[in-house]
Amino acid sequence: MESIQYAVFLLGAIFCAYRAIVAKRILSATIYLACISALVSATLYLLGAAQVAVMELSVGAGLVTVLLVYAVSVVGDDAMDPASVIPKPLAFGVVGLVAVLLGWMAFPALRTTAAIGSFDLASSLWQTRVLDVWIQIALIFSGVMGVLGLLSEKVPGAKEEVEQ
């Protein structure tokens, strides 16, 4: 029973991922990305990571979608679909090989029995990995600064026009 739930969610995620990549318009891809977020979030919940599932849902299906829509609105949604630079068979081949090898090697690792450890996210985050939290704060700070800097730069062409 559990397997079927997993299978459904993951197959759905893979299907949405493929559709997102080959979508002609970026807005369609954005919707597919949000679907992937939802399905992955459900899988995470099934695995037992409830808090991360909620974070993933809100960030992936919420924040990232809003960001992409904003970016598209600024940039303009040209529906372009030119041929790819790398021949498709080559891409298929390389990626396929990587996937097969990864699967082959990771598969036996699942047979090992688990040791019982701590389950709690809160204690893990705030005690064992406090350094991570500090790094995340620094990351957010620098990211915000970077974006502000990037978005406030004027295009040099526009400036010259104004001066003339």
């Binding site: 970026i26 990305l33 974070m55 598209v72 990771a106 985050l125």
Partner: protein, 103 residues
């Protein structure tokens, strides 16, 4: 050979990774590349939580996953800001054209 649910998750992760890599190779649009990176990150999140579950230390898996979510959101934000700037200055989001443009 019976497939446990965790095996299915593993295959799902690898498939998502594969689709993500394929997408990175195929895409020519800068914003699409940022999106495909998001897909790859979701596969990574699944892998982290799976590893945590297998070793019994789900707390550690979750906290690492939380860190990854924060990091990758910042990457997406900065990447999109860069894409907007590229569009403004160079006029196009087509990756091959951006690579060969000079100045």
């Amino acid at each position: 050979m019976t497939l446990t649910p965790l095996d299915i998750v593993l295959f799902g992760i690898i498939a998502l990774l594969g689709v993500g890599f394929y997408g990175l190779l195929i895409t020519r649009n800068l914003i699409k590349i940022v999106m495909v990176l998001q897909i790859l990150i979701k596969a990574v999140l699944l892998a982290l939580v799976l590893a945590g579950k297998l070793s019994g230390n789900l707390g550690l898996g979750q906290s690492t996953a939380a860190t990854v979510i924060v990091a990758d959101t910042i990457v997406a934000v900065v990447g999109l800001a860069l894409a907007v700037q590229v569009r403004r200055r160079l006029g196009t989001l087509d990756v091959p054209k951006i690579s060969s443009m000079r100045g």
